[in-house]
Amino acid sequence: MSDAVIAKGDGDAARWRKALPALATLGALAAIVAAAMTGVIARGNLVYDVFIDPFIAIASLPDLFVQTVWEGFVAGVLYALIALGFVLIYKASGVFNFAQGIMVVFAALTLVGLYEFMDNAGLPAGGFLALLALVLTLAVMFALAVTVERVVLRPLVNQPEIILFMATFGLTYVLIGFGEMVFGGNPKVMITQALGLPTGVSDFAILGGRVSIQHLDVAAAIIATTMIACLAFFFQYTRIGRALRAVADSHKAALSVGITLNQIWIVVWFAAGIVALVTGIMWGARSDVSFALDIIALKALPVLILGGFTSIPGAIIGGLIIGIGEKLGEFYWGPLFGNGIETWFAYIIALIFLLFRPHGLFGEKIIERI
């Protein structure tokens, strides 16, 4: 049942009904603030602790707030990058690629693993070797794209999306098993310096306090932005980009106008592989590189439902909302719930958004026809 149609159904009445929850929420908030100001509720009262106390904490130490937001922002950029990998493949082939998170880990592991291997083999460590490892890793990601196309996608042309989705589950497990067998299960350290990424910290004095910013995070934000811009351009304005969008709409129709599906898929999965590599480097530089990182793929999923599966701006904005929301939630509201709420907080945010916009913030609304 299309909601657009229901909502349009009865004019003013419908509009009022839609506005009602918002009005009710506003009213409730006003009542809580009033109650807090008049002293009816105070610390220890759950309502006070949820709706008033965290905001007092924010107002009293604004620098801490800025620091938290910045950290959320950086996390959000990385979420957005993973989400972007998902969106790319989804837009371009209609495949919801569950394996994107594992591709991130796999790419990072390959990079570090190759570097270590060549280093041990006696090649001089440093920038050149890192570059060589980077090129080789790209080659591996390309080989992965070709393999996926050959082994998984080609036999599944024109299958329902849900089948392709489940196939990427299989791919995830193959990659986990293969990666761990080749590189071992031990965490590795990202070759941040050899890649020429900055490592320092700068402190800024603002709002009567200090906010410290990792240079790496700044670099991550810049690189991510550049890459997103390039990809957006590629998809919107090149011949291949147009073909990609055709493929996403219908395999059959795309084939019938002479688009070579096989090439397109290799291009898309390779692009997703590059995005995975960049994400892997950035994420690996902040923690270590191991298969435990695959949890970040699950973190990127709420970003996707928030932004909509088909929207690049959606992935970015969704990533930032989740990143910042999660950090603020954990820092200011987490203690109330006994901490660790990071694991599900993002999902709850996304779920609440979904109830109001079933196709995400920027997803395409489908008018159902029959």
Binding site: L156, L301, I305
Partner: protein, 359 residues
């Protein structure tokens, strides 16, 4: 030769609508039940019961639950392990609060608690579909998993932070806890699974099952047919979670004898059950059993099979190979036989009917 339906005429609609319309099938199912009740407990070693038979039954039950949701109603859920956990913790709290009531009653009753939670997390399915719903069910998974770790009331403030299964008896025989024999646990598992499978089979072959499949195949047409989507979907969530909950309670009380939420009810387990459903066959009860048996037995077969044919294997590598094979199997089945082992089973029966002729 012996598998022929010639001469078996159906003279009533009841006969035609039976789950096993062919006499040989009915005999076959009776033989399987006999083997399961008498043969396996008598012949199997403790190791086989503990690592293959009991977990197969537990996972088969959970897979039936998930299959009702994914295979029959077409709603993807990645929160299976979370719902299993609800069943396990509900059963634990119930048996601690009312130890005088038999544990078997509580194992089954715990399903109602996970059904309630399932309906709650199934509510978004009324508005969202497909991948969006799949991701939304992850919210259930992560939230429930978090509660199992962070709400000490659930594990009765044990210092270990996990469920410690008390000894409970049925007619004087210990069936849970460290002193219970594996045979007893196995037989209880088997009985619960057989009973619940029979009920599930009744459901999916009747009006309710038709409504679910109609929603799966073409929800708009189903609604224009007078099927209420919200009722059908929420009922599917409730029944599905009920099965998962009972499976969870069984896993802790009759198989593991204790559980740590972080590992037993993690997202990985949700995935494994989804794989069982895919490999076994979407929308097939038999498939749930076949898939569970395959995925449960696979690591053991690898561990003992590969060295037996001369390939040395370390423990860690066995795990990696297992994960790769599972992944490859999923892709293989999706490509070659999307309806899974259940379809292969059907094809075999078809071939058997006309054997020794090709058709």
């Amino acid at each position: 030769m012996y598998y022929r339906e010639t001469g078996q005429y159906k003279t009533s609609y009841i006969g035609d609508m039976a789950v096993f319309p062919i006499r040989q099938d009915r005999i076959g199912i009776a033989l399987i039940l006999l083997a399961a009740y008498v043969g396996i407990p008598a012949l199997s070693s403790e190791f086989v019961l503990k690592t293959i038979m009991i977990p197969s039954l537990v996972f088969a039950l959970a897979a039936i639950g998930l299959n009702i949701l994914v295979g029959y109603t077409g709603l993807i859920s990645l929160g299976t392990a979370g719902f299993m956990g609800v069943g396990a913790y509900a059963c634990y709290k119930l048996t601690l609060a009312f130890p005088e009531i038999n544990i078997v009653v509580w194992i089954i009753a715990s399903g109602f608690f996970s059904a309630a939670i399932g309906v709650l997390f199934g509510l978004p399915s009324l508005r969202i579909k497909g991948f969006y719903l799949a991701v939304a069910t992850l919210a259930a998974q992560f939230f429930l998993q978090w509660s199992f770790v962070r709400v000490p009331w659930l594990f009765n403030y044990n210092t270990s932070g996990s469920i410690e299964v008390p000894t409970r008896t049925l007619m004087g025989v210990a069936i849970t806890g460290p002193t219970a024999s594996l045979e007893a646990k196995y037989l209880i598992c088997l009985t619960i699974v057989v009973l619940l499978t029979w009920l599930a089979s009744n459901l999916v072959h009747g009006r309710v099952g038709r409504a679910w499949m109609a929603v799966r195949d073409m929800d708009i047409a189903a609604e224009l047919m007078g099927i209420k989507l919200f009722e059908a979907k929420l009922l599917a969530f409730a029944v599905s979670s009920f099965y998962c909950g009972v499976a969870g309670a069984m896993a802790v009380f009759l198989w593991l004898g204790g559980a740590e939420a972080g590992t037993e009810f993690s997202i990985q387990r949700s995935f494994v059950i989804l794989f069982i459903v895919i490999i076994g066959g979407l929308g097939s009860l038999i498939g749930s059993f076949l898939g569970a048996a395959l995925l449960v037995a696979q690591p053991t077969i690898l561990k003992f099979g590969l060295p037996a044919i001369g390939i040395p294997l370390t423990g860690a590598n066995a795990e990696h190979i297992n994960s790769m094979i599972t992944g490859a199997l999923i892709i293989f089945f999706l490509i070659v036989e999307p309806l899974g082992l259940a379809r292969l089973w059907q094809i075999t029966k078809q071939k058997l009917r006309v054997w020794p002729f090709p058709y």
